[in-house]
């Protein structure tokens, strides 16, 4: 399989992830042999052996709920699922392959698939009843066991002689090679959840030895965000996309379709060492299920690691069921009258096709009329008029060469043939204004920005006017802090405009320059103050 990271929103299917070590007990042996001759010529032959026992613990009789990433259909879900094979996802990608059901013992050729030890069994309401109960681990075999940590004597197992469980399965599958026993950290008095399934039902619905390997695989999902997430990020504003994550998980699915219009229960069971009890071939030929004492079994006891149930109902309650009933069309009123020759009908039909609706309109003079309105969304087929107040849209999407509107009324449009107003653009202009005014921080920011712009204009105009009027004289400002010694003139001869009125006496020129600068400053201030009080461009006369 390719090892590149998956693209966003893709699912990669993987046949199986083998655990590095299967759960169980391991013995590590290190052996070193030395042979040769020592300095005296005596033969040395020594052998050092060191052994360590190692236990790999794994899920066996119970499952931490946090390992389950999800089930489908969901617990207690009511929906249209009778064509779907129930499935369970595990967040650990190796989980289904951590133990051995013993399939390889049952097949003539070596198996090509790695069979999972977990399977989903699907039970219908009208199946033969199964019995679920909590029992001690000792009840999974027929031999006596210690019922609690302090017990000095063993008690006989209550597992009925006609019920086959894991000890029997191991014996039938592995023969004398492997015996069913508890692993390190597991005790006969630990509690687990079991179900007793009638043998006939088990043989009918359990996957066969050849089926089992197909019913688990792993997936790598690279996340793509759903609607809810996308909305969250779009309100959080710019620059935060690209947080896709990829995820590995393993998945086991059932081999039986749920029943229509009825409740279905699914059990996740352990098939560890149970290969001999599974149907033997593709057609599901039942296996001969016997207990360890060679008695024909009537029940099979399996550990149920998880179970859930759901109900299959009418198709409309499903995702696609909903969407299939959705009515699709352009965003417009549906009641366009059928084609008629009258002018009125023509006009109304045309307007509705353009996304208009007629609304009551209270005019400013108090009279009531009906006006056309359409929102920002118009039917895709409708032509959008390219005229006032629409500005031509430039290359960068910005409007060009149109003056901003001074009032909403400028955006009102009047149709002389019908005598009706189109208030759409006037309404949107007014709405934008009201929304801006309601948001104090925005209107303040906007006002500050506009004031900065005005001041920038005036500064530029005044600078230019003064430059023109006073010529080079003002290029002297600011004054040097200390008049230099030597010649006492700070009016350098070459800076004086050629039209200057003859030679100016130093002291007079200096006083005049100081005064000029000071007066100009206050003049700017008063001009700016004028500007704030000015209206409609009528400039005040200067006295």
């Amino acid at each position: 399989m390719a090892t590149q990271p998956p693209q966003t929103g893709t699912v990669k299917f993987v046949d199986a992830y083998a655990p590095i070590l299967e759960a169980g007990e391991y013995l590590i042996t290190v052996e070193q042999s030395i042979s040769g001759k020592d300095s005296n010529g005596a033969t040395i032959a020594e052998n050092y052996v060191h052994a360590r026992r190692l236990f790999v613990q794994g899920e066996r009789f119970s499952l931490d709920p946090s390992e389950i990433a999800g089930v489908f259909p969901g617990n207690l879900n009511r929906g249209d699922h009778d064509n779907v094979l129930p499935q369970i996802c595990f967040s650990r990608k190796t989980l289904p392959w951590e133990r051995d059901p013993g399939i390889s013992r049952m097949l003539k050729e070596p198996p090509t698939l790695r069979a999972p030890w977990l399977a989903l069994l699907v039970f219908f309401e009208d199946d033969a009843p199964i019995v679920g109960q909590n029992v001690k681990l000792g009840e999974l075999a027929h031999v006596p066991y210690k019922p609690d940590p302090n017990a000095t004597t063993t008690v006989p197992s209550s597992l009925p002689a006609y019920t086959a469980s894991y000890a029997d399965g191991y014996a039938a599958t592995f023969g004398k090679d492997k015996q069913w026993e508890l692993e390190a950290g597991q005790h006969h008095w630990d509690i687990c959840r079991v179900i007793d399934i009638p043998v006939e039902l088990f043989s009918t619905i359990a996957p066969s030895c050849t089926d089992l390997g197909w019913l688990a695989h792993a997936r790598t999902i690279s996340d793509s965000r759903g609607v809810a997430d996308a909305a969250r990020s779009s309100s959080a504003d710019e620059q935060n996309a690209g947080d896709a994550a990829s995820d590995d998980f393993s998945l086991v699915f059932a081999n039986r379709f749920p029943e229509s219009n009825a409740s279905t229960t699914v059990h996740l069971v352990s098939l560890e060492g149970m290969a001999a009890f599974l149907p033997t071939d593709d057609n599901g030929t039942p296996a001969h299920i016997q207990t360890i004492a060679k008695q024909d079994a009537t029940f099979v006891r399996l550990v149920s690691l998880y179970s859930w149930s759901f109900t299959c109902e009418e198709p409309k309650e499903s995702f696609s069921g909903y969407l299939k009933h959705v009515n699709v069309g352009p965003l417009q009123r549906a009641d366009v009258p059928p084609d008629k020759a009258t002018t009125e009908d023509q006009i109304v039909r045309q307007a509705l096709a353009m996304g208009y609706t007629a609304l009551d309109h209270d005019t400013r003079y108090g009279d009531r009329t009906v006006s056309w309105y359409h929102g920002p969304f118009v039917p895709s087929a409708a032509p959008i008029p390219d005229q006032e107040p629409s500005p031509p849209i430039g290359e960068d999407g910005a409007p060009t060469g149109i003056a901003p509107l001074a009032t909403a009324d400028e955006a009102l449009r009047y149709d002389p043939t019908t005598g009706m107003f189109d208030v759409s653009y006037a309404a949107s202009w007014q709405l934008g204004r009201l929304m801006a005014l309601r948001d104090k921080s925005f209107s303040l920011a906007l006002m500050t920005w506009k004031r900065m712009n005005t001041h920038k204009t005036f500064a530029a105009i005044h600078r230019e006017a003064i430059d023109r009027q006073f010529g080079a004289a003002l290029a002297l400002v600011p004054l040097p802090p200390e008049p230099p010694r030597g010649p006492r003139s700070f009016l350098a001869p070459d800076k004086i405009a050629p039209t200057a009125r003859g030679p100016v006496r130093e002291t007079t020129a200096r006083r005049a320059a100081f005064q000029l600068v000071g007066n100009l400053e206050s003049l700017f201030d008063s001009l700016n103050a004028d500007r704030d009080g000015e209206s409609n461009g009528s400039s005040k006369e200067v006295k």
Binding site: G70, S224, R256, S320, S390, P399, L523
Partner: protein, 303 residues
């Protein structure tokens, strides 16, 4: 009237002032002059960001968007295009705050290109999804979906495509539930097709149902798991036209004969060279449900 230098200057300043006022009038009445002065004026980020949100119609009351409930009845999907004039008026209305005098109008006129450019730049950046160059803003179109699926399947994925099949919604200008059962989507470009899909986590295994009887279909349409050598454009996971495999069930129990079904799929796919190998992974792909994706076409858009 003495003729001291000071009073002489003051007389001169009076005429000077009149001169300045005149200069200002002249500049303000010349749009070109104002535009030159403001050639390098920058828009403050608060202003541009707020207007960019407004451009995606955020905060616009629903009654303005859809003035008539008849336009969007329950269980309906409505395609639309966004009227640029309407959007322009909305933005200009917001921009009109503190526009009182003719001077203000002149100024707003002069810096409007900067304002719109800055706003559009932020919108374009959003369309680029935070990575890559800002995208050019095309005509804005979208749809409204009012349905029980909006509230029932919040993990639902939406993809919009234009007539050429280009994906427009990655990312969308806006995609948001504006009411518990109403989804609004705005994209840059003309939507020809919108696809609703459940998230990949809920990709299910299953078979089709006969559309007339509602019974389980006896066959399953197959997908390619690799691009076949003779059809390199075929994406893995797409259906191969007309390629089907039988579904085998055990008698009377709705139980799948898994190995038999898998073998049938393998033999159906092998001659087409649409599989490299057939493992539980490929079986998982073949068994995944194809129904949980629904496509709507915008009939008003013709290629």
């Amino acid at each position: 009237m003495s003729s001291t230098p000071a009073s002489h200057t003051s007389v001169q300043l009076k005429s000077q002032r009149a001169f300045l006022v005149a200069a200002r009038r002249a500049a303000l009445s010349s749009p070109q002059r104002l535009a030159d002065i403001h050639a390098d004026t920058q828009v403050t980020i608060e202003v541009a960001a707020w207007l960019a949100r407004l451009k995606a119609l955020m905060g616009v009351p629903f009654a303005y968007l859809v003035p008539d409930e008849e336009m969007l009845p329950p269980e309906s999907l409505r395609f639309f295009q966004v009227d640029q004039n309407w959007l322009y008026c909305l933005i200009d209305g917001a921009y009109s705050v503190a526009r009182v005098t003719t001077d203000d109008v002149a100024h707003d006129h002069a810096v409007a290109p900067h304002l719109h450019a800055a706003t559009n730049h932020l919108v374009a950046r959003r369309l680029a999804g935070g990575n890559g160059l800002p995208k050019k803003i095309l005509q804005i179109t979208g749809f409204l979906l009012r349905s029980g699926v909006v509230s029932g399947w919040p993990g639902m994925k939406v993809q919009c495509q234009d007539a050429e099949g280009k994906v427009l919604s990655d990312p969308a200008l806006r995609i948001e539930c504006i009411a518990p059962d109403i989804l609004l989507c705005l994209v840059s470009g003309v939507i020809a097709k919108v696809i609703f899909q459940l998230p990949p986590e809920s990709l299910q295994m299953g078979i089709d149902r006969d559309s007339d009887t509602g019974k389980l279909s006896p066959t399953k349409e197959l997908r390619s798991t690799i691009a076949p050598p003779d059809k390199p454009d075929l994406k893995p996971g797409t259906f191969i036209h007309g390629c089907k495999a039988p579904i085998f069930l055990r008698d009377h129990s709705r139980t799948l004969k898994v190995n038999a079904t898998a073998s049938a799929m393998r033999s159906a796919l092998a001659p087409l060279k649409a599989i490299a190998d057939f493992t539980p992974a490929e079986f998982g792909v073949e068994m995944s449900e194809g129904l949980q994706m629904v496509t709507f076409s915008n009939d008003a858009v013709h290629k």
